[in-house]
């Protein structure tokens, strides 16, 4: 029988320390939705999404009620649209029609985001891939819930530098088209290296082609719980600290496993994976930056930050892996700047720079996330930042990503306001030296030597 102290501990985690299940994401394959023309394809997509996910929000709320645990987001990910629309979309506008249909389907299902307006171009771009990528700025400007991603590199294929160059321009264009909202469109777009097929977190979620027809993936969170647990390990050595984080991660992940199994049963959709991530929100006490401070750093970004983060990330995985039957997605600590109050504070204090964040992304999931930069940053500079991040992922055989927002009309010293879960961010300075000749070379960077394992 469960004891009263265990019940109190769980409820304190939920009510005082912001423990929640961050997202239940239903992955839906749209490969069987290709029609004779754009309209028929759109209709089939709409029908499949709305019939598959019609009960997603309702079931999420019922499970939340049953266990007394908040399930913050219910979301949908779909097959990369460049693949689905490839045969029928002949223009950018054709792809934008699909984006609008996805938005409509998401609204009807009551989910706050739908991911998968994506292209996988780690080695090369088909005509359809390129059309989709070029349509991203308009698609993100004219929809509210659609999220987009492009995979531009992998350890096995190297980096598609043509795509990286193009993405730099696309990000600038997206920023321009959504400048009235602090270039919010860019917050719904991620560029990846080694993108996972089963990531439940936005903006980078898509339903990979290796997946089943439909699948339930769950993302857990709980930075506040980890922070509170390690308060009890103040002054203790690393062994004690690591044990504390592992035990806490185990408990957090078990809740995710419970919710995932139940959602899968109730929806009649197979369970895919649990994504063991520490995902912060702008709420006080729900911050990865705060954990780093509790570990012993004055601010995130101080010397020692990369080591502390590497240790944290590893312990979260070690604790979480045993708690779930299948682990996947991104699984690690997220370090988005705008969505984490203590990261924002660290940037404002001058403790955390873009270069330090880049180093931190070598040891955690995922990458440069929700970073606001001056609106007049050159497209080639953005491509250079992306190329660096892709190289880290390619060589270290991990997922890396960039979600960067050149905020039109703002510069260092200003703030960008994105609202809600996306938070706000101080504009960070960017290295002013040019990488134009490097980016303009074109072609691709070959796969690294250690990828040849056959």
């Amino acid at each position: 029988m469960i004891g009263i102290n265990e019940v109190i501990e769980t409820n304190e985690m939920i009510h005082k320390l912001n423990l929640d299940v961050r997202t239940i994401t239903m992955g839906i394959s749209l490969l069987d939705c290709v029609g004779a023309d754009v309209k028929e394809t759109c209709d089939k997509i709409y029908e499949k999404i709305t019939s598959s996910a019609k009960n997603l929000v309702k079931v999420g709320n019922e499970i939340s009620d049953k266990y007394g645990i908040p399930i913050v987001n219910k979301r949908i990910s779909v097959t990369p649209i460049a693949l689905v629309g490839g045969s029928v979309c002949k223009t950018e506008e054709d792809f934008i029609e699909i984006a609008k249909k996805l938005d409509e389907a998401a609204t009807v299902c009551g989910v706050n985001f739908i991911g998968g307006y994506s292209a996988l171009v780690s080695k090369g771009m088909t005509k359809a891939d390129e059309l989709l990528i070029r349509s991203i700025p308009k698609a993100l400007a004219c929809t509210g819930r659609v999220c987009s991603s492009v995979n531009t590199g992998s350890t096995k294929t190297g980096i598609n530098m043509d795509a990286v160059k193009l993405i730099g321009e696309i990000i600038c264009e997206t920023a321009e088209l959504t400048k009235d909202n602090d270039s919010l469109g860019c917050a719904k777009f991620v560029v990846f290296c080694n993108a996972p097929d089963d990531n439940p977190f936005m903006a980078g979620a898509f339903h990979g082609v290796t997946e089943a027809d439909r699948i339930i993936n769950v993302g857990v969170s709980g930075p506040g719980v980890v922070k509170a647990a390690i308060e009890h390990a103040r002054g203790e050595n690393f062994e004690v600290l690591c044990e504390t984080i592992k035990k806490t991660a185990f408990k957090i992940t078990r809740v995710g496993q419970l919710v995932a199994k139940e959602a899968s049963e109730r929806l009649g959709v197979p369970f895919g994976i649990i994504d063991l991530s520490l995902a912060p929100t702008p709420a006080v006490g729900d911050s990865v930056g705060e954990i780093l401070e509790e570990i012993g750093l004055e601010y995130a970004g101080a010397p020692g930050t990369t080591a502390a983060l590497a240790m944290l990330n590893d312990q979260v995985k070690k604790g979480g892996v045993m708690a779930s039957s299948y682990v996947g997605g991104l699984s690690g600590a997220f370090i988005p700047v705008s969505e984490d109050q203590r990261m924002i504070d660290a940037v404002s204090a001058g403790a955390l720079t873009l270069e330090k964040l880049e180093a931190m992304t070598c040891v955690c999931s995922v990458g440069l996330d929700m970073i606001a930069i001056p609106g007049d940053t050159k497209a080639t500079t953005i491509s250079g930042i992306i190329a660096d991040e892709m190289a880290l992922g390619m060589v270290n055989q991990k997922t890396t990503a960039v979600r960067i927002i050149p905020v039109i009309g703002k510069t260092v010293g200003d703030k960008a306001e994105f609202g809600g879960l996306l938070g706000y961010a101080p504009i960070m300075p960017v290295n002013q030296y040019s990488c134009e000749k490097f980016i303009n070379r074109g072609g691709r960077i070959p796969a690294p030597i250690h990828s040849f394992k056959n």
Partner: protein
Amino acid sequence: MKKTIITVLGKDKVGIIAKVCVYLSQNNINILDIAQTIVDGYFNMMMVVDISEASKDQSRINEELGDLGDEIGVQIRAQSEEIFNMMHRL
């Protein structure tokens, strides 16, 4: 059997248990066990109940227990026992 844990948290006063028990009996919910403790000056009570024969569904029970808590001036929650088992038992 559908075991559910009802927790009551707040300042101690006369009649908390009585009022919760009246609600449970009116809705055909059987009490299996009760434990209580004081943490940081707050009254914490845990009841293990069986809601398999309850006359209402769980979301309704949660809502009404919440309202009852507001009336008494304490927080009352009902959660399926599984969440605690998953977290605290291998």
